[in-house]
Symmetry: C2
Subunit: 499 residues, 2 copies
């Protein structure tokens, strides 16, 4: 649906029409030079920046998120588009690889073989409730799919419908002015549309951020299609933090202060919120409460994103609180604006029942786990499922090497003396981890996210003029390539990012 | 199972023991330097070469494949290990990416973020019937998984059990002498083992080459696990070849000769066998038969790989022959050693019933489709499902540009004036295409295949000495990396491949 023809509760038939239009648009831009694809992303970034005040006001009304936070998120979203634009210009996502014919190749004469990544087609992107800009209409998945050369059908999140529709209008208008084909980006709405999107034969991949239950159901649906498609889903994560004895001894107050700030940021509605904090048992619960309570009383509170999230947060929090060996340390509230909750337990209890470590409380609540011996930490970490992040707080006197190895095995990002909330967009970023953190071994943040929406095609002995320009000997676009095993840098590979 | 303790019809319990041993072995080698991982592959390659006569004799007895063909396949298999060894030494599969902290990063201060690919764990590899070396015990998937740093449990193919067991013994012995941990590579046997392998929690990915029905069933099983795992399956492919009018006019005899050689090579038991040949209707069937028949009479024949394959080949061939508008052009036989079959139909018939183009005949049979107008070829190509390969035969006078675009959209490798059988192992190779050719957007041949068995992990603000060596500032292994967006070549990146 283009915004001008948009209807709420899009039907499966309307999705089919949008998918056909999107497919045509995708075919139309298939052969465009990197500079054209790149500038499309810059144009969208500029349009988002130009409409920032209006979009931020709409976002605040829809989500209760603070305007400063939304301004930061919009900046990040526009920056991401510009960063991806530079990658496209340098040809990085193409992974262009040229093997010239080689009669003396070790396994026998090698023909001329050249490989390039091509876009998959139409990509379905599901907006997330908690990042109305960065993981929604023109968030990471949409930006990555457009950077790959795909068309995007975005399923808007009901938690910020007005913002989503206005964002989509602005994007469509910018794309139209830039001469992009109609329907290259469009939005759909509602549950029927979500399922139709996953089912439609022209849709070749899904980007999803949401709950484990909802995400798994859609993953199953995508995998059960006659032609299965990749489902890049970010589902749930607890993001454990491990405080080692010497660090705890020397700076427990500053650690608890950082913890409180991190798990209440955005009312705890981050996929990277620290949901479990392992600390030595040298301090008793009352001492920990003594530090946390006054800090949490100062936390700036707001309504949760949606009534549905408020209900599921309350249920998850109460479920964990009712588990054997779990006590309330700082009691929250069930007000319209829920005050933060801290639960507390110990290593013995979670060892008896690891389920205590496997319930995401999506909101301002977290669990402190006191442990006796630091050498038990790797074993405790192994009780956890796959994670987006895992963090260590340690001093030089702490031996964290085995724990670091263990966390590498269960998480996609490992932090040192830091807090997992706040995910930078860069070349090395990895946002994704073993299931249920994500449903694939890829990232949804950072430049590497673009590759998810491509597939490689090799050309064998195709004459130079018939090859895609990215693979021609003259390398007319001056992109980064690997030629006969040797990497050749792009002319534009290090251009400065605007933003 | 190590070969010394190997039992046929491995039980699920035995698979569980083997998976635990493999998992321990995987953990034991996690921190080894690239040079150690690399030399492991060289050692296996050398052992295969040293035992070539014995292995080839076993392979011939098991499969009926000619000794010269098996010698070539063993050479290719050993070469592949050495090529992968070089990639490992240069650190290419690690994709090491270093982003130093940057206070002026466009979206706000950037922490120090460094990413590297780590091995997934234990990988289950299913041997293929038709390549007893190159896609079996120590074939592409096993080599790629070991190059990634994974442990391998290989499910042997019943069509060459003796060869598989002896190969596994030789590999295990070579690994033992090289000091690799016990159980890093082991084999299992039978259907119960196959299912147990896909189900076991320590198994983190599957490499499969086989039938569409069997592959899809295992894909569904892998996707339905509590923790779904990637299933890299190569299922079925028809590999259409399109001959354009001018090329047909000028050299129909040589094209038909190449076609006959390609579709009968290895008794037609290649996943890249050309199963459909589109030709202009300027020659009638009798003329085509007149060229093909004497060539096919000279084809060197052998029994098919297994009785089961012989039966399913006969059924598939007879099914296609019975379809409306399909006639026999060169009639094969149902002998123990089946003579080649050529069927013929026309564009109108396949347009009415595209199923004609969607039945793989795994054996010495192929279908000729006569067409009237070259401009119909892109439409005819669009009737086909996803393919490993698609080929064009054209002269300068032929306009193939739209057809080339269309084939790029349905295939993983597009050839020009060549035949799809014979797949070189190189940096740019792509062996895999849209479903049902494969179940993922990756390759099972070439150096890019290694990445399938890894996942990325990022480290944020981790002190240099605690980082994996591949990410330390000093780059002690001198591997290829991307640092602050700029690519830095490996010291060993262009080392010559032995073989």
């Amino acid at each position: 649906m283009t915004p001008s023809t948009f209807t709420l509760a899009t039907t499966a038939e309307e999705v089919a029409v949008a998918a056909q239009t999107a497919h045509r648009a995708f075919l139309e831009i298939a052969a465009e030079p990197p500079a054209v694809r790149s500038s499309r992303l810059n144009v969208i970034a500029a349009a988002l920046r130009a409409h920032a005040p209006e979009l931020i006001a709409l976002g605040h009304a829809d989500t209760h998120l603070a305007e400063a936070r939304l301004q930061g998120e919009l900046n990040r979203t526009a920056f991401q588009l510009d960063l991806f634009a530079n990658e496209v210009l340098a040809g990085i996502p193409l992974d262009a690889t040229v093997d010239h014919a080689d009669p003396s190749w070790g396994m026998g004469p090698r023909p001329d073989i050249r490989r390039v990544n091509i876009p998959l087609g139409v990509v379905g992107v599901f907006g997330a409730s908690n990042f109305p800009f960065a993981f929604s209409v023109m968030g990471g998945d949409s930006a990555a799919a457009l950077a790959a050369g795909c068309a995007v059908l975005h399923k808007i999140h009901s938690g910020h419908r007005k913002l989503a529709l206005r964002t989509a209008e602005i994007v469509a208008e910018a794309l139209g002015e830039a001469g992009s084909p109609d329907g290259l980006f469009a939005v759909v709405d509602g549950r029927a549309a979500a399922e139709a999107l996953v089912d439609h034969p022209f849709v070749k991949a899904i980007g999803f951020t949401g709950s484990t239950a909802g995400g798994r159901a859609l993953f199953n649906r995508a995998s059960a299609r006659p032609e299965p498609i990749p489902f890049y889903g970010e589902l749930g994560s607890i993001n454990p933090v491990f405080v080692l004895p010497s660090a705890w001894e020397s700076r427990s107050e500053s650690i608890l202060s950082g913890y409180a700030a991190s798990f209440t940021a955005g009312m705890g509605q981050f996929c990277t919120k620290p949901g479990v904090l392992f600390v030595p048992d040298s301090l008793v619960g009352d001492q920990i409460r003594g530090v946390l309570e006054p800090i949490l009383e100062q936390a700036s509170l707001a309504e949760l994103l949606t009534p549905g999230l408020r209900e599921s947060f309350g249920t998850a929090r109460d479920d964990v609180a009712a588990m054997e060996g779990v006590d309330a340390l700082v009691s929250g509230s069930d007000d319209q604006v829920p005050a933060p909750t801290v639960l507390i337990t110990d290593a013995a209890a979670v060892t008896r029942n690891p389920e205590v470590l496997r319930h995401e409380m999506f909101g301002p609540a977290s669990l402190v786990v006191r442990y006796r011996r630091a050498e038990d930490l790797p074993g405790l970490a192994s009780l956890m499922e796959g994670q987006l992040t895992a963090s260590i707080h340690a001093d030089e006197a702490d031996d964290a090497s085995l724990l670091l190895d263990t966390l590498t095995g269960i998480a996609g990002r490992v932090l040192w003396n830091g807090w997992p909330t706040g995910v930078t967009v860069s070349y090395a970023q990895q946002h994704g981890g073993p299931y249920p953190a994500t449903t694939s071994n890829t990232t949804s943040v950072g430049t590497a996210a673009i590759g998810r929406f491509t597939r490689p095609v090799a050309y064998q002995d195709v004459p130079d003029p018939q090859l895609p320009a990215s693979l021609q000997d003259a390398n007319p676009y001056r992109i980064s390539r690997r030629v006969d095993g040797v990497f050749e840098a792009a002319e534009f590979g290090t251009r400065e990012v605007i933003g």
